[in-house]
């Protein structure tokens, strides 16, 4: 046997050994098999990539967000300078912040499309109602994260958008004044506003987002992907066929010629 084939067989045995070792201890192989080889609908596969694109963009946001944390300083007089440093001095700083900014915009667009796709294809019907509710929670979290993130750069756009946002918030009946005082850390924009928005944007909401994504995926795998009615064309055809046959039998015995169901209502 040549050296190469011997090396190959030894490598194969080593691989098998490692797999068995892991399988026995952690059951990892069966779990992977269970997750990876799950049957999913075939016809509309391209439309369902919207959901995974959203997941990809959120992970992108988490990664680039953590990288930005290495340089960002959340205080009124350093925030802008630290971002200026990222954009101009840090290696690939423009790239990292660019990805964070642009994938945020794409994320909101893709979330909109994903929600529209699920709504118009009826993906929220029983037994998947909870998944829809979790989806809407995710949408709200992402929108609030986007709003708080916009203020962190503490430039003209960011500050003034926050001022207008706070003024809009102050119009909510009963709780308006309290919520914006909580968000601004007092009764005017100041250093507390930056640190509060920083805390909310960087940890509070993402920490809420992660488990909900987990639930969303768990419910998805629990009930299987409901694509669109086009995935069930043949089964629906068989169902209607069987129902029509049943209907014919019902009329044959009372001897009258069969007339369409709707017109029966008009005739009597």
């Amino acid at each position: 046997m040549g050296a190469i084939s011997k090396a190959r067989s030894q490598a194969a045995d080593a691989g098998k050994f490692v797999a068995d070792w892991l399988e026995h201890r952690a059951g990892i192989v069966t779990m992977m098999e269970h997750f990876l080889y799950e049957p999913v609908p075939k016809r509309g596969a391209w439309i369902y990539t919207l959901g995974s694109a959203t997941l990809f963009l959120i992970t992108l946001q988490f990664l680039t967000g953590i990288l930005l944390l290495f340089y960002y300083v959340p205080s009124t007089d350093h925030a802008w300078n630290s971002i200026y440093y990222i954009m101009n001095e840090a290696y690939f700083g423009t790239l990292i912040r660019g990805i964070h900014y642009w994938s945020a915009n794409f994320l909101l667009a893709v979330i909109g499309l994903h929600m529209a796709q699920v709504f118009f294809s009826g993906g929220y019907k029983a037994p998947r109602e909870l998944n829809w509710v979790v989806g809407v929670v995710l949408l709200l979290l992402v929108v609030i994260i986007a709003f708080t993130g916009y203020a962190l750069r503490w430039d003209q756009d960011g500050v003034w958008a926050t001022v207008v946002g706070m003024k809009i918030g102050s119009y909510s009946p009963f709780v308006g004044a309290y919520t914006i005082q909580f968000l601004m850390g007092g009764d005017t924009i100041g250093p507390a506003t930056v640190s509060r928005f920083f805390a909310i944007h960087v940890w509070l909401l993402p920490a809420a987002l992660a488990p909900f994504i987990g639930i969303h995926l768990y419910l998805l795998r629990r009930h299987g992907v409901f694509g669109d009615e086009m995935e069930y064309r043949e089964r629906l055809a068989k169902l209607q066929e069987r129902q029509r046959l049943e209907e014919y039998e019902q009329y044959e015995d009372d001897g009258e010629p069969y007339v369409g169901r709707r017109d029966r209502a008009d005739r009597d």
Partner: protein, 227 residues
């Protein structure tokens, strides 16, 4: 895997757990809630604003022209979080955080009977101001001066002055809110006229302002102070 061991639980145990749980839960949530809601408590319960309750210099009245408003920048020190005075005194010597506001100042304008505008600029101001003002000079200035916040009453965008052929008007570029030179509501989405500061004029012919709006008898809702 051992099967689940389900010992029977009496109603008493259940109630006991319930009450104990709620008490411990409450105890565990009060400190974090107070910790996070600190500022809301300060502003509403203890009535302290972030900006110390003091008079802040805006600018001299001499430079305000007769027919159009002049914008001054007033700097309010902000006592928030790490920029509180006491904190800075004990700790590292850093400049406290400040927030500056644009203030539109103008002389009140009235429409005379024949329809053209009368500008209430005091005579002695027009002919150059000698600093030590007498009391009735101060009263005359205070009665005829508009000291307006530049934040639009609708959604808080910065209001600007646009010159038109007969005078001009305050315009909010965000949604088209229009105010007259006295800050009164003319048109557009704002729910009321522009907010005016509580101000006073001192002998040194300077305007001093507090970090609060003077809503006085004026109707319309007083929204929390944002900038």
């Amino acid at each position: 895997m051992a099967e689940l061991q389900k010992d029977p639980m009496t109603r008493g145990d259940f109630l006991g757990f319930g009450i104990l749980g709620t008490i411990v839960g409450a105890l565990l949530t009060i400190p974090p809630a107070a910790f996070v809601l600190g500022p809301v408590i300060d502003v509403n319960v203890r009535g302290e604003s972030d900006v110390p309750d003091d008079w802040y210099r805006v600018g001299p009245i001499g430079e305000i022209p007769a027919k159009e408003p002049k914008v001054y920048v007033v700097e309010f020190p902000v006592n928030q979080v790490y920029s509180e005075e006491q904190v800075i005194e004990e700790g590292v010597e850093t400049p406290g955080a400040t927030i500056d506001n644009a203030v539109w100042t103008s002389w009140r304008e009235e429409i005379g009977e024949n329809g053209e505008a009368i500008h209430r600029i005091p005579s002695f101001v027009e002919s150059g101001v000698q600093p030590p003002l007498t009391q009735e000079q101060i009263d005359e200035v205070t009665a005829n001066l508009n000291v307006l916040s530049s934040s639009c009453a609708h959604l808080g965008c910065p209001v600007r002055w646009i010159v038109k052929e007969d005078g001009g008007e305050f315009l909010c570029p965000c949604h088209g809110g229009i105010y007259d030179i006295n800050g009164g509501y003319v048109g557009g989405p704002p729910p009321r006229g522009m907010y005016s500061f509580t101000f006073e004029v001192r002998e040194d012919a300077n305007i001093y302002v507090k970090h609060e709006f003077d809503i006085g008898g004026d109707k319309g809702p007083q929204q929390p102070y944002v900038i």
